[in-house]
């Protein structure tokens, strides 16, 4: 027997890249975030071998949760084969030996930039959203310390004023993605920049959602079965993107979130944003229940209401 026989094989990096202390910190912060839904928990945020601002917040969460038995799905703008999604998936599997999938329902850990898939996620699944800017109050104050104070006091008057001003000027809310939403009746969050189409999917969801901003060093969570409501006045309901009549050019489906593809003749074609869902439709035609049915009805009946144009 030689010393070499006894020694562990050389490893240039820790399992899943981050050292145990960093993972421990992340896990503790996640527990805190889950315990206080919607509260932004500061964390140290380690540098990763991926450029900052390219999903390093989500990646740190994923790397602290992933194990060899995990099945990981990574999407960017809804697509599994987008170059950035491919790169993150390659890194996660290289460092953890986890399996990968494009099937939303088979994933134990789903890291996403800017989308929640179309099929209803289940208990036991974790959705990790990459967040560029965790602060929903950024539009009313760019100062993090002031925003922190406003959250502490539940002082969200300026957010309501912002919405009111939009109604006065444009007769509707003009927020695009990342629509500010109230979690568990307490904290307003910026739901990463997912489109408004995806925001209702956070409400009373069976899965856990973790939102993490690596550059801004904050993470927050929407635990399973938690109320999430977009900010709306009672007489002017929140609206998702209006894509009625948009038909996917490959699958023929409607009432799922679409990418609009401008054509040379000035018209547009449409295709499903959720590439894993499209793949299922093309392969077997079998999918599990989506959040929005073929008529565009959301699965929590009554949550979304028809549009109202206020007269002001």
């Amino acid at each position: 027997m030689t010393l070499q026989d006894l020694a562990q094989p050389r490893q240039d990096y820790s399992y899943a890249f981050m050292d145990a202390y960093a993972k421990r910190e992340l896990r503790r912060r996640m527990l805190k975030a889950i315990a206080i839904p919607g509260y932004q928990v500061p964390y140290a945020s380690r540098e990763l071998p991926i450029a900052r601002g390219w999903g390093t917040g989500g990646l740190q969460v994923t790397l602290s949760l992933v194990g060899p038995e995990s099945v990981v799905k990574v999407i960017d703008q809804g697509a599994d084969d987008s170059v950035n999604a491919a790169n993150l998936r390659r890194f996660i599997t290289r460092m953890s030996g986890s399996q990968t999938t494009t099937d939303t329902l088979k994933a134990t850990l789903l890291q996403s930039r800017h989308r929640i898939p179309e099929e209803i996620m289940q208990e036991g699944q974790a959705l990790v959203l990459q967040v560029p800017d965790p602060e929903p109050l950024r539009g009313v104050t760019s100062d993090i310390s002031k925003a922190h104070q406003l959250h502490a006091d539940s002082d969200y008057g300026q957010m309501w004023l912002l919405l009111y001003e939009q109604l006065v000027r444009y007769r509707q809310y003009i927020q695009g993605a990342s629509y500010p939403s109230l979690v568990n009746g307490r904290y307003i969050i910026s739901p990463s920049p997912i489109p408004r189409w995806d925001t209702p999917k956070l409400h009373q969801s069976a899965h856990l959602t973790l939102l993490s901003a690596g550059r801004e060093k904050r993470l927050y969570a929407v635990p399973p079965y938690t109320d999430v409501y977009p900010l709306e006045f009672s007489d002017v309901p929140f609206q998702v993107e209006n894509q009625r009549g948009w038909v996917c050019k490959t699958t023929g489906v409607q009432n799922k979130f679409m990418n609009e593809l401008p054509q040379e003749d000035g018209t547009s074609q449409y295709e499903l944003s959720d590439s894993g869902y499209a793949e299922k439709l093309m392969n077997t035609g079998e999918t599990s229940s989506p959040y929005y049915d073929d008529q565009g009805n959301f699965y929590h009946a009554g949550y979304l209401k028809p549009p109202v144009l206020p007269t002001l």
């Binding site: 960093a22 450029a51 809804g78 084969d81 998936r89 800017h114 695009g176 993605a177």
Partner: protein, 367 residues
Amino acid sequence: MYVAVRGGEDAIQHAEQFYHAMAGKLTPQNIQLIQEQLPYLLDKVMGEGSLYAPELAALALAQTGGDLYEAVLLLRAYRSTQPRIAYAAPATADKVLTVRRISAAFKDIPGGQVLGPTLDYSHRLLRLDILDGLAEDNEATAPQAELPAPSTYPAVADWQRSQGLLPPIEANQIDPVMIPDVTTDAVLFPAPRAHRLQALARADTGGVLALGYASMRGYGLIHPTVNELRLGYAEVELKHPVTGEAFSAGRVRVSQAEVISSGGDSGKAGYQLGFAATLGWNEVKLIAASTLDMEMNNREPHPAHTEEFVMYHTEPVESSGFCIHFKLPHYVTFASSMDSVRKVISTFYSGDQPPQQELETIRQVQP
């Protein structure tokens, strides 16, 4: 194990191979050449990467074809996984083996002005003759002094303290484990002074210069006078884990700057100091950073000189990473915003009628 779609994966692998094919070849000799020829570049990368490792810095520069932000990120990403095995004793100015140390505040200072190695008074002329092979780089080296210069010098600020011009330092003994660490702590504001100085030490040279220059040009409250600027070598003094004896594990190039100004808006009589130090020799960064340190102490600094503003916006890895992330596809968020814009247009202008008057620009709060 089954693997998800591969289209994007092939593309990114080919793109990386293309990049490397267009850059120089990675060989141990080339990397060593970078290490020997470009010490100031190495210093900049090591300072911002907050990892003193000339060999690794040279490798990082070679691997990235000299893209500074990429090189800094390589060092940072490597560093973030390394265990902290020991804490070195504090390196104080009067113990640093000093090769250059000047003060603009006095004609002469205790220990003397030491010009040391500098290009400050060089004529910035390109040596085209060397490029054309007409001459060799054989400029006379400086003649040797009769007596060796002292290796250490007292701190200028100590003289001012003895004169009561500066408040005394409250030196408190602290267990190094307890020193706040910006790389492993969550950052909150107001930040502990340790966080601030660490952030400045790691800060982007260009970013610190831009904000510091804005202060100097007139947006700040102060006119910095360089009280002391020092380049030297600090001993990395450790305690032997078994015997407890102090020993030097090596020397690192360090630099520090102090700027001095009277009063500021603190309402106190006398002078105040701004301070910054970093691994490697980087004078321009430190003069700007120490100016910013003093600005941040003011009660109401310019909005671009508050602690939060400076610390967030001079972080090289974060600022460069976020800037280049805009290359990533954003078509989902753009679709969402286009939906809002279309709704507003259809509310105010019906049918195919072009807008009669320009619609007020729709300003969205977030992307």
